[in-house]
Amino acid sequence: MKCGIQLAVNGEERRVNVPPMKRLLDVLREDLHLTGTKEGCGEGECGACAVLMNGELVNSCLVPALQANGARLCTIEGVSTEGRLHPIQQCFLENGGAQCGICTPGMILATHHLLDKHPTPTLEQIQEGLAGNLCRCTGYMRIFEAVQKAAEAQHAI
């Protein structure tokens, strides 16, 4: 059994015909060929597959396709504009907040969500905001620094 799902992905209307329990993660990667979103644990523990759904951070491995019907989605592919990195991405790059890259798309989107809710986050708010995103390479200090710089950069604009 398949069902038609309508999605607004990174500002573009898309329609897919998929099993209703197919994971949003797989819809993004396999049906829409947006492979920037990564799979880590597949159990909602690591945040590698995090995307914004109607402005809220969600783990796409835990969202059945049918529940995303009609949703507005932002994936890592939609964060940069016209080939220019978003300030959050730029700050991760400049502060060594990315290494192997598997956790990075989720980290960037979790940061995006955090700075939406807390434009001037405390270290504690950063730690909590990214607590659902696991990184096994850089260590978290550089990531936290990147987030702090990104918050400052957003205020400078």
Binding site: P19, G44, L57, V58, N59, L62, A131, G132
Partner: protein, 291 residues
Amino acid sequence: MRSDVTGYELNAPPSLQAVLTQIASEPGRHALIAGGTELMVALNTGRLASRSLISIQHLRELRFIRVTTDAVHIGAGTTFTDIRRKEIIARELPMLAQAASWTGSIANQNRGTIGGNICNASPAADTPPALLAYKASVTLLSLRGERTIPYEEFHLAYKKTALEPDEILYSVSVPRAYEGWRQYIRKVGTRNAQAISKIALAGLALVRSDEIQEIRIGAASLADRPLRCVGAEGAVRGRSVAQSDLEGTVRLGSAALAREAKPIDDIRSTAMYRSAVAANLLEEFLRQLSS
């Protein structure tokens, strides 16, 4: 191993009434799915038994926080994020706000619901200890009508609840009766985010002139279901928490708690550790009442 998703059905009825009609027509056949933070994990690890699911995630009728003079009524589809953002919950029911902040991570709190947390019926779930201490009640709904029962009567055994096959959890009501009560909640896990409790304790007490007039204690991971620790409550109710009496009160409470606790060994901890830490948490709670 991950399940083949083509073997599962999922539909999203347009209203709560339509959901009730569907589950009444084939009682027990369908599993309800809200935020998916539990059932999608089961799907992804090949453990999702029910092949037919009904989504209730989109039902606005289940997502509300209504405040009346006597209680805060929380719809079963209310997310942990909704709970954390509600000022009155942070102010009057801080243990519930705290428990919501412990559940998973921000991404999981944006999706997971209080109804799911309760109906999944894990003995380690984060919100039940606070709900037990607050003496919450739950309203269950079916085509036959609605009924409201004390939350402490909801969990019947391991993963077994009072829900009939044609019923759905509609809401959780928490009394607004705790002004002046002392509130204590602590979770012990491997880390703050994501980790499931090794043990957690919520305590609520009314203390006057160093005497415990009323006390309620709820615990996670101390039995096969979320446990209201009535034995420990009874042992310390009416007792003094004055400095000179505190040791004796703690001893009575700990002994009673040890009698009613039935913790197990599992991948997260051991029964011995859980018993020891539960006693320590109770002691910490009672010591806080003393100051």
